[in-house]
């Protein structure tokens, strides 16, 4: 049986870095999966993505989260980057996430991802984010904050991109 779930690339930061990119993504899989553990050096902030270096107002998202004993949700439209999760600024690698990007090579539909994430002792989060573009995804950049970047990803942050291949 052919391998259907395999790592494409891994990046682990040895120093604080503004962003992480996966480029020249093979077009041979059906779905992509990013698994990450990260932190940032400043106050709470979002973890964002852009596809194919597109910095236009073509991204949006909806999220819901539990923080302590409370729940909340929110949306953003016409953003210049999409949303994966959020981190705290305590300097630790306390945020983990698993992000599914389905049918990333199709050229008919907009691209949607779904992320489950958690931050130790602080938060659990579910996010759906869309890129209003029908192009195949060939690169993914991840950075902190709406200013892309607002803060650096801290040393030790790690990201692995997987490909999943359907029959």
């Amino acid at each position: 049986m052919a391998i259907t779930y395999e790592p494409i690339a891994t990046t682990t930061l040895s120093t604080a870095t503004a962003s992480v990119s996966f480029s020249s993504i093979p077009q041979t899989y059906t779905d992509l999966l990013i698994i990450g553990q990260l932190g940032q050096s400043a106050s709470n902030n979002s973890v964002r993505y852009r596809y194919n270096s597109d910095s236009g107002t073509n991204y949006s998202y909806i999220y819901m989260k539990g923080v302590g004993s409370g729940v909340g949700s929110g949306t953003e439209a016409n953003a210049t980057s999409g949303y994966i999760t959020e981190t705290s600024g305590d300097g630790g690698l306390n945020c983990i996430f698993k992000c599914n990007i389905l049918n990333y090579t199709n050229t008919t539909t907009y691209k949607t991802l779904i992320t489950r994430s958690g931050r130790a002792s602080e938060l659990v989060d579910l996010v759906v984010s869309m890129w209003r573009n029908t192009s195949a995804i060939t690169s993914i950049t991840i950075a902190q904050g709406a200013s892309f970047p607002t803060n650096n990803l801290i040393s030790g942050s790690t990201f692995t991109l997987y490909g999943i291949k359907a029959a």
């Binding site: 790592p7 819901m64 909340g72 599914n100 049918n103 907009y110 996010v127």
Partner: protein
């Protein structure tokens, strides 16, 4: 993956079957004759409903059982509102949110469905689902669990558009098997 560890490459995750909906759409899709050789199943789906509304729903059933032998719990968000939902003694297990005809044509919803210990014949079958769609500032998403009160091994899975509409062209359902050691 934790920092410093090697990326995990699961050789035990295999593609079983894929259905891509063609022109004209379809009201349901099925995976049949599912091998009992895995420990767990996962369905990864991207779909859209033809319903004349903002949203449609995909519902799951097993082994052609259309009796009221299912139940589910859901934590969901619609815009800035979060709520819970549940149903008992229904004919489907979970409601997967998909965008429908009132949403822009290129918007499709996605879902990841995990069915654990599906071949076990000693316990009811439980599923967990994360799903949703975004529509540029609105949309819906959910984390769900569901139960099928039957101890039979799951040999087939059917996804049906809840309101009797269609899953539209380009909707895509992929079934995977995950082996245990």
């Amino acid at each position: 993956m934790l920092a410093g560890n090697t990326a995990f490459s699961p050789s035990s995750y295999e593609s079983i079957a894929t259905v891509t909906v063609g022109s004209g759409g379809t009201s349901s899709i099925s995976f049949t004759s599912i091998p009992a050789t895995y420990s767990h199943l996962q369905v990864r789906c991207m779909a859209r409903s033809s319903r004349s509304a903002n949203a449609g729903y995909g519902v799951m059933s097993y082994n052609s059982d259309t009796g009221n032998n299912y139940s589910y719990h859901s934590l969901y968000a619609q815009g800035t509102a979060v709520a819970g939902d549940n149903a008992s003694n229904v004919f489907y297990q979970t409601l997967i949110y998909f965008p429908a005809a009132s949403r822009a044509a290129s918007i499709f919803g996605i879902g990841v469905v995990d069915i654990l210990d599906y071949a076990n014949t000693n316990k009811y079958k439980t599923v967990r689902v994360v799903d949703g769609y975004d529509s540029n500032g609105s949309g819906e998403l959910a984390a769900q669990s569901g139960s099928w009160r039957n101890t039979n091994a799951i040999t087939s899975i059917t996804f049906t558009e809840y309101n009797g509409n269609n899953f539209v062209e380009y909707s895509h359902f992929a079934l995977y098997g995950i082996k245990g050691a």
